[in-house]
């Protein structure tokens, strides 16, 4: 039975619950600051609502080089060899100012992207050409924000550093592709193209968890006493799980479906994440 992306979240719920509770306690403690913090017109709490844009140039370039990993997109039911030009996402980020130039925050974000699947072949099928898989990434990371000595957060330029967790889930829907099939009866090498739908089996593909280190450079400019606009760049360094733990977990299936196994899925994510370092981000900041 296909898993929902949030089912995987539930699995890690207990871990996340304790994480969030710890973060909240941590943030709450920051209310007890001994230094005088006047904030932005008296406000010390801020919520960033941002969109981020990523140009997967490096990932696309890398896939162009690798003949077996070409990316295909669904163009009205027809596969087109094409890589997505832009990935988007959004996030919410809460900031509590504890000193004039230091704040503590928590960020939660959601973004979508596509990966070229690393599919294993069965005995009778080969030369698979498959649509890029949609992946949903959920991230949560606490962070610290700091600026120069005389800064008044959140105005102006500031740096953010965080360490967090990402959860990647494949988006469950129909994907199209084409495969070459051997003639079973003749065992000849004649190849027959076959298009199939829904031939991914998600049962074995659980969500992938990775750790990330974030550095973000943000500029916030006031619009009025309650709103600021922000923009900046975020750099992420991602640490994927050890592939040795999941190699060889390909399960053979008697069905003619191709299997997106854990190893393949993880490799695909890793391939993508290792080449996704910089994002541009912009949004609105609310003060309260």
């Amino acid at each position: 039975m296909p898993t929902r992306w949030y089912d995987n979240l539930k699995k890690n719920y207990l871990n996340m619950k304790s994480l969030i509770i710890n973060l909240l306690i941590f943030s709450f403690l920051s209310f007890f600051s001994f230094s005088q913090v006047n904030g932005y017109f008296g406000k010390k709490n801020f919520l960033d609502v941002n969109v981020n844009l990523h140009l997967p140039l490096l990932y696309n370039f890398n896939n162009q080089l690798s003949f077996s990993s070409l990316g295909y997109l669904n163009k009205n039911g027809v596969l087109e060899q094409k890589m997505p030009k832009i990935n988007t996402g959004f996030n919410f980020s809460y900031l509590r100012v504890i000193q004039r130039n230091i704040g503590l925050g928590l960020e939660m974000g959601l973004s979508n992207f596509r990966v070229v699947p690393n599919i294993g072949n069965s005995d009778f099928y080969t030369n698979a050409v498959i649509e890029m898989i949609g992946v949903r990434k959920f991230s949560i990371l606490p962070k610290i924000e700091f600026s120069y000595e005389d800064a008044l957060l959140p105005i102006g330029i500031s740096n953010q550093i965080g360490v967090g967790v990402n959860y990647f889930s494949a988006i469950e829907r129909g994907y199209i592709g084409s495969v070459s099939k051997y003639n079973e009866s003749s065992y000849s090498s004649d190849l027959v193209s076959v298009s199939k739908d829904n031939y991914y089996n998600f049962e074995t593909a659980e969500s992938v968890k990775s750790y990330t280190i974030l550095y973000k450079l943000t500029m916030r400019i006031p619009i009025n006493k309650y709103l600021l606009c922000n923009f900046g760049f975020r750099y992420t360094f991602n640490f994927m799980p050890n592939l040795n733990d999941i190699i060889g977990t390909i399960s053979s299936s008697s069905s003619e479906d191709y299997v997106l196994d854990q190893e393949s899925f993880t490799r695909s994510i890793k391939n993508k994440e290792n080449r996704s370092l910089i994002m541009f981000e912009t949004g609105i900041t609310f003060s309260f």
Partner: protein
Amino acid sequence: MKIFSILFFVSFSFITLSQQDFNNFQTLKSIGQIPKDFSNLTVDKIKEDLGNGNRDLSKSQEKIFLEGIHYGIDQLLHSGMVIYGDEISNYVSQIADKLLNKNYPELRSKLRFYTIKSNESNALSTDQGIVFVTTGLISQLTSEAQLAFVLAHEIAHYKDKHVVEGFEYRNHKNRNTIKQLSVYSKEKEFIADKIGIEIYQAAGYAESQLLPSFDVLMYSYLPFEELVFPNSYFNSDLVYVPNQFFPNKKYEIQAIEDYDDSESSHPNVKKRKEEAKKNINEYRNWGKEIFLLGESKFTYIRNLCRFESIRTDILDASYGDALYSIFLLEKDFPNSVYLKRLKAQTWLGIAQYKSNGSINETIDRNSELEGEIAAVHFVIKKLNLEATLTMAIRQIQDVKYQLPSDDEINAIWLKMVQLLASNNKFNIKNYSTFNFDQASKENGNIVNDSLQKENSESLNKYERIKRKKNYTDPSVFDSTKFYYYALTDLIDDSIFKKAYYDVKDSISEEEKAQEKYEGLSSSEQRKYKLEQQELNKKTLNEFILVEPSAISYKKNRVDYEASERMKSKYETAINNAGVTLGISIYTINSGKLNELGTVGFNERSVLTNLFLQYSQNNDIDVFPVDYSVLKEIENNYGTTKIVFTIVEHAYRPQFSSSSLWLIFYPPALLGYIPIPFMKGNQTELNLLVLDTKTGKIENSISYNFSEPMTKLILEARMYDILKILNN
């Protein structure tokens, strides 16, 4: 005839009534409607002048010239030193009428005359037709004719457009000070003298006053009179200052006519006199007038300037000069309350600077001592701290005896007592119940500084040493410690003792509290600090905001237009932040002069001068020289808090060499490169809160930030600053 006599009497009374009473002198202030020179904005003046004036300059040169001239002049006009519509400005105007109305009426119609309250002996004219004369100059003159010549000289500079030519000659030098504003080439000075003599002669003034005018200028660095300062000046029934504290030689006056003028903007006096003689000889029909407007009028005007000069000396913390000038004027005005108040202020200032260890800032160096005034500087220097403190309280107390119910004197007295009590060097218990005369007689000495004499036969070594230190014992007499015999009246004075010991007790309590604090643990110390912060919380619910000084730089040059805009932005931001926080802010600035009128202009001048006074030495809580006027301002606005600000801004992105490693990681450059540009705005704001009730600087803050100076960012910053000041 009877009616005529009555009318004459009434008009005479009116004239005398409108004159200052020197016994109750008040600092000169502007009168009447604000002239456009003061009320028009600099930006508008530049726009109006561009393209007019027939200057032989290119468009960009003209813009730079006009910016420099107009902003420089406006800085002077709004400095708090310039007045209009006052008796001196009117008098100078009348002399200009005598000089020009008959032969140069058109020229006369273009000129305006204002007075600068400065002890610098100078006059200057500007390209716009403004002629300034300083009170320092008029103090030095001996006749109206001399003033007429100085004016004629300055008018000649304007007539011949020397200001523009001087701009080309000097090539865009900054001219913000009075000196720099009046600098021309030496050749132009000769031409101005020649034309000046022409104008002077045509008005009918006497030839005999021309060459002495140059003498006035040569010796103008000295006081306005050269009278011997007697050693007995400070003496009275209660105090005697021995001769050993006065110089035993005369300090010669060093000025010479033929000094080396190679690095001076003006030709030396000898050259000027020689040229002037040639010019004088060109005319045959010289007039005989020395006082066209009357000698008594001139003397009156000069006295106004001389009285004003003491105030300026105190503003500049030139206490030696102030004391000598008071001595000079006391001869003619012995009952002047103003002089008494300023004497008390001067002594308080001397005591404060001596306590602070910076007395040399207020007196001349030994190498600079010249003339009779040298004696005053010598004495101030010679007195040690204890002696100075004693002399100060002595002089102030004597003034207080003469004016016991004068608020200002009482305030000065209290401040002096507080200074005594907080100074470890002063101990009232050391002081003798005998005055100098009594003590010296008790010791068998006459009052001529003979050495102490003691009966040592019955005493051992240690007893003798103890007696030497006990000046309450009149048999132990040391003339060098004359001050121990100067406070006989105060030792048992209940009012003095109460004030003195009140301060002593509070200092002692503070010290005990400090000792206790040092014995506490870190958490207890933190808790104690919070409690103290809460107890000593200073609120700033309302204040007077004096026009800030704002300077914006562009490419290392002052950008005048940007500076004006920045000033306006700052004022708007702080007012808006005040509204948000519920703080009442009363702004006094150039932009509101039309609304505030001359009253506002005068108030701003007083407050600006107050700031100048405090900025002489940040460690000293000076007594405001315009104390009485300040009280009026407090009553007017209902607050004693005054805020002064200086804002400076420049855009200077700075790149760090340590970031060169980023070239190995190009993606990082994408984020890093914009940072220096985003942080390139460097704004520094220095804000000072003065409480005129306590006479202390209540709070000060130096505040920096790197964001662009947009309206909202500035307002957020002002909000932060006001919150800090309120905590």
